[in-house]
Symmetry: C2
Subunit: 248 residues, 2 copies
DNA sequence: TTATTTTTTTTGATATTTGCATAAAAAGAG
DNA sequence: CTCTTTTTATGCAAATATCAAAAAAAATAA
């Protein structure tokens, strides 16, 4: 069996080049067609869907690892990446690589560092690698059944994003350069999983003072052409750093 | 040298019983004398101060590991624990255990999972172990110089706590059962690093509806005896779970 | 015992932010 | 040109936050 050979060969090298017992799983968010989507990969090994992930080279830190893994998958560099949690349950990788010897590297107990990534959907060129049959975007409310604890990892990523929305802006990494206010609102609504009031969204967003209104509108669609905006990159970055709502 | 022997002996066993390349560092917060304090340990190896930490048994998940490590240090069980970040820079453990062979287990490259813990100061009985000379509480604005990246880990822990204060209550794990409103406010002020308005703090705290006012006041001190409160445990737990401020 | 001092607790006045509703503006369709 | 639909802007009441200060309570000093 060709595939099994590849795994066994790679496994031998793995002991030398990767950190043992530690992997990375990424929840990659994109926005397209008024939907928030997530990247999932169909594994050759067991025909199950998984979050894209990989191992950590002995020569890199975890963010570099996540960055490398996602670059290989998407062709995108400079992805917005945020680690959010370690998944370490004893039985989380149980039953994986069942057809292989217990001594195989991939079959050891693995802890995963969860990252979430925000990418501009339109710049991504998906890549299917040696271990996978397919790599696709799926709407977050229509995810296929995921292997191991990957559904749980996804839930935690979305939960983190929802919390962070209260003090961080979002959109710069998900939307094209020019976008409309209703598009931005839609993005917020899907991530939060609830409708927001239009007028208040406008006022609040403008009060944040991170948007620049352009002298164009998006013509062509039916009905009134919405105004186009772009982010004020400097103010956006500052808001990311300092936080948007004072809180206490 | 006695100490070196111990380390070398332990190191041999370590390969068998611990997960390699991964450790845990804990930022343990306590509240005493109107000050927020943190637990630090003086290492025998190099006479530097460090955050309490340890390694992960192959038979436990990371929260169990953190719990075990802190129980050994403080005698406290059921500590409030929250992982907040992985520290993985390549050179973070550089220069540690210099006197030992490179092959020694402790000298491998280590990633650390950072946990923060909240404990009731009065219930803690500090324990000095084989690797340390001292174990002390230090006020967070008077920390000694810490080894490796431990100051950075502390900063991230405090930053996390500050953010979480915007949607989580705090105090149940830090204060004694009965406490006064000014004490609670002091706790918030120290963590946030700024003064809060008295009247507003009162109103906001009471609106959260997680406090029960007792029919007692704290007599004995000079001046007006402040009212005593305790937390409504059920409502507090609910607030922890669901979050305090709606945000969006 | 009474006045003084100090700290806690409560209250007011004002500004800001929300929630909900609705009006005005703009573009394509017919 | 009118109709329909969607975007954008506004109005107003309710809820919150800010700032300031008054009232209440206890200990101490006189």
């Amino acid at each position: 069996m060709e595939f099994k050979k590849i795994i066994e060969e790679k496994s031998k090298q793995a002991w030398e080049i990767y950190l043992p017992n530690l992997s990375i799983d990424c929840v990659v968010f994109g926005f397209h067609d008024a939907l928030v989507k997530v990247l999932v990969v169909k594994m050759k090994e067991n025909n199950l869907w998984a979050l894209p992930g990989g191992y950590i080279l002995k020569t890199e830190n975890i963010k570099e690892a996540a960055s490398r893994i996602l670059h290989q998958r998407t062709g995108v560099t400079n992805i917005y990446l945020q680690q959010f949690r370690v998944f370490s349950d004893l039985n989380r990788s149980e039953g994986f690589f069942e057809a292989f010897e217990n001594t195989i590297w991939n079959k050891q107990r693995f802890l995963s560092v969860g990252f979430y990534a925000l990418v501009d959907f339109s710049t991504v060129k998906l890549v299917v690698d040696n271990f996978s049959d397919a790599c696709e975007w799926k709407a977050i409310d229509e995810l296929p059944e995921l292997m191991m604890d990957h559904q749980y990892i996804f839930d935690k990523a979305l939960g983190t994003l929802r919390k962070e929305l209260n003090y961080k802006p979002i959109g710069f990494n998900l939307l094209p350069e020019k976008f409309t206010m209703p598009e931005l609102q839609k993005l917020y609504e899907i991530i939060l999983g609830k409708k927001l009031n239009r007028g208040n969204f406008f006022r609040k967003m403008l009060r944040y003072d991170i948007l620049i209104k352009l002298d164009e509108s998006r013509k062509g669609g039916a009905h009134k052409a919405p105004d186009l905006y772009k982010f004020d990159v400097e103010k956006y970055q500052l808001a990311l750093k300092d936080g948007l709502n004072e809180g206490w």
